[in-house]
Symmetry: C2
Subunit: 453 residues, 2 copies
């Protein structure tokens, strides 16, 4: 899918802004920034080096400050909050929705949290404390406790009168929830239905009890799965006794889906999705070092294997020239299988009941590709080094390593997942260690057996 | 984020289903399948090898057939449609929403398309043809032309009466669109507002003209960006003359976001996101072969570099043992930078105005890590081979290759993007070719200069 236009639009804004910042005249910058939505401002701030970021942050309309803070990653958020007075922070966040505020609150200085709590009315303070009482990454943290409820034993016109009295509904309200006397969730009525039915229609005739409720302790990835599998736009949240606690709307779920996708792409390279693109080098290097050190350690395992064949290499230098090809191709083929497995595991499409079929298929693919690419590689090596035996050895070694890659590509992520590890994080390192070792071992081993005995 | 529970739930269903299928008694399977939503059935079908898939597909409630087809990938969809009679297909798809039908129609046999068109009433046929007249991956294809419009010069009670007469509203209707006599989009009114305002309130007093309209030719990734940056749940679609054509709802946008994420994860391994996990090996190998062949070709470039240093390796075999470490570490470090760049480019956070800052930062990170890891590597090599000069050479070569990786990690994706290529697809192959070549060149080259002259 072409991302080009998206890129072009935001980076065009970025260029305009950069040019304006260079001139030092902040008026145009301010006007430009304040045509953007809070999420776009957040995106822009994440695209700016620290110095410029602080300048632009000072120009953002204070009314948008809170929403912008909600929309940036943890590291960038810290850099922005560090520039604000406690009063400014309180003013910025006190008008946020409860679910957004709950998301922010743990990044605020303790004194500011007290101030924010003091500035809230009792009802909202109770709601915030309720939301914060649930663990992070659960439905309880995502929900907004501000919901409109009605009783089943009433009629459309009573509800209409109640709504007119009540005035404005919470943002993104598409359904009213029907509860009983104990505030247990019974079902919902769409606003559309209230509008298209006669005033006298009893509410329980319109009641839709098909909409399932989400348990307050469900994980946010489970919430995301249900929203996307069932095309929900909003859903009620209940406790163990089915008492209605709040509602989750799809705009918050979209953020989770995005974060999950980013996590998968970045954790494969040992990175944290909250990393600030522009954090200074002397801070950023730490986030990379551990993963590189682990890779360095595993590289020695492969080097150790090569070391065992010192004598063979000394006699036939061509082995040293060609051995990275066999190892590298195994890594490439394994990476393909790993990528499919990680997606399949994330979608729950792979389990103990079907991984054998998958393994058999991948071994079949590896065998076909091994024969095809192995023959190709063998022919090129024959033309280069004029040794039919060397050519046979490298073709066979490649096939063996592709088979290893297929097997490891299926089993490594499956095993990691079963043991509770994230296959996206550790899968790649483990897999390439296996294919490197097997690549060097099969090629140098076969060469030693066939060419040097 | 833990995906474990999601995995567990679906794979639990999968296991139940598999067990039931093994017994051959299809009654329980059918009951199980028909408790699931169409998207969940689709997910399940994608998790089944072809034989079982066809059996289960035969058990799905025919009323759900159409929705299930909408929710599976292209390859799996083909395998399902191949099992259906033309009549069954027509029955399955004729009740779909126009936007879903448009999504499916091109995968149907031509004779079936004619049948489907004939079975539709004139209004819907025109709508379908209109949607199909826009290119794939644009707003025109995503929109549903079925929208409720009202005029500005009327009052709440007139609209309420109209809605009651009209009856059911299109699915997920949260706003009515206000148009003028020429059907140009003027703004929108929330259903919530109709419910909370007095009957006599003029519509133009409630009109919200802040909601921007989407151009019918905008790309779907641009549509996704706007929905997620501005927290929209729905948006109107207009043509160049601002005439209202339809509306897009967020449930379709969520699918795009998911697809983009999958595309990014899979295309890095040269894979197509529509690949059927269970397509037979003799078919699946083709999807992998090209990318592996490209990688094989680039591997020869690196092998060629090693070949230049044949004499050096012959004299010091330790070089052959250690050279993959230097090359591989460059690849790892470069992959980290590449992953950050691909995300930054996709979010539009990186452009000509700020990539220099980023390059400087990444070079700084590489320098710090080069010194730290280079020293570590040097010490280990000293302990292993007792050669201070070799130890110095490998430490220096590693630092050089990390600097190369940082530079290439920033510039390769940026250049690919500028030239209109997908950095997620081609970035990895190009980058590792560069780091392999530079790894071998710097290590073997320095060794030859320092150790052999």
């Amino acid at each position: 899918m072409a991302e080009a236009d998206r890129h072009d639009k935001t980076s065009h804004q970025l260029r305009l802004l950069s040019d304006a910042l260079e001139t030092g005249r902040l008026g145009p910058v301010k006007r430009l920034v304040n045509t953007l939505s809070p999420a776009e401002i957040g995106n822009l701030l994440e695209s700016l080096p620290l110095g410029k970021r602080i300048v632009v942050w000072g120009l953002v309309d204070p009314d948008d400050d809170g929403e912008v803070l909600v929309h940036v990653g943890d590291e960038v958020r810290e850099s922005l909050i560090a520039e604000m007075d406690p009063d400014e922070i309180v003013a910025a966040v006190e008008d946020l929705d409860i679910d957004d505020l709950a998301d922010l609150v743990e990044d605020l200085p303790a004194t500011v949290i007290d101030e924010v709590l003091k500035s809230m009315d009792r009802e909202n303070r109770d709601r915030l404390e309720q939301v914060l009482s649930y663990p992070e990454d659960t439905a309880g943290r995502l929900m907004n406790p501000d919901v409109v409820t009605v009783r089943a034993d009433t009629t459309v016109d009573v509800v209409l009168r109640y709504l007119r009295l009540r005035g404005e509904l919470p943002e993104h309200t598409d359904y009213l929830y029907v509860v009983n006397r104990r505030h247990q969730y019974l079902g919902r009525i769409g606003l559309a239905q209230l509008l298209t039915h006669d005033a006298g229609t009893p509410i329980n005739q319109l009641l839709d009890d098909e909409q399932a409720a989400i348990g307050v302790e469900e994980s946010d990835s489970e919430v995301a799965r249900q929203f996307s599998d069932r095309d929900w736009l909003s859903a009620p949240v209940v406790d163990d006794n089915h008492i209605l606690l709040g509602r989750i709307t799809i705009d918050d779920v979209v953020d989770i889906i995005r974060e999950q996708a980013e996590h998968q792409a970045l954790s494969a390279a040992g990175l944290d999705e909250d990393e600030d693109l522009f954090s200074p080098a002397k801070r950023a290097f730490r986030g990379r070092l551990l993963w590189l050190a682990v890779n360095l350690a595993t590289a020695f395992i492969a080097a150790g294997v090569i070391g065992r064949f010192e004598d063979s290499i000394e006699q036939i230098v061509a082995l040293a020239i060609l051995m990275p090809i066999v190892a590298g191709m195994g890594g490439n083929a394994g990476t393909q299988v790993l990528a499919l497995m990680i997606r399949g595991l994330a979608l729950g499409q792979i389990g103990s009941s079907n991984f054998r079929v998958l393994l058999r298929k991948e071994i079949g693919v590896a065998l076909i590709n091994g024969v095809l690419l192995g023959s190709g590689l063998g022919l090129i090596v024959l033309a280069w080094f004029h040794s039919p035996m060397l050519s046979l050895v490298i073709g066979t070694a490649l096939t063996i390593n592709l088979l290893t890659a297929a097997t490891a590509g299926v089993l490594v992520p499956l095993t990691l997942k079963r043991r509770g590890f994230d296959p996206a994080l550790a899968g790649g390192v483990l897999l390439t260690t296996i294919t490197d070792v097997m690549g060097f071992l099969s090629f140098l081993g076969l060469a030693t057996l066939v060419l040097l005995r």
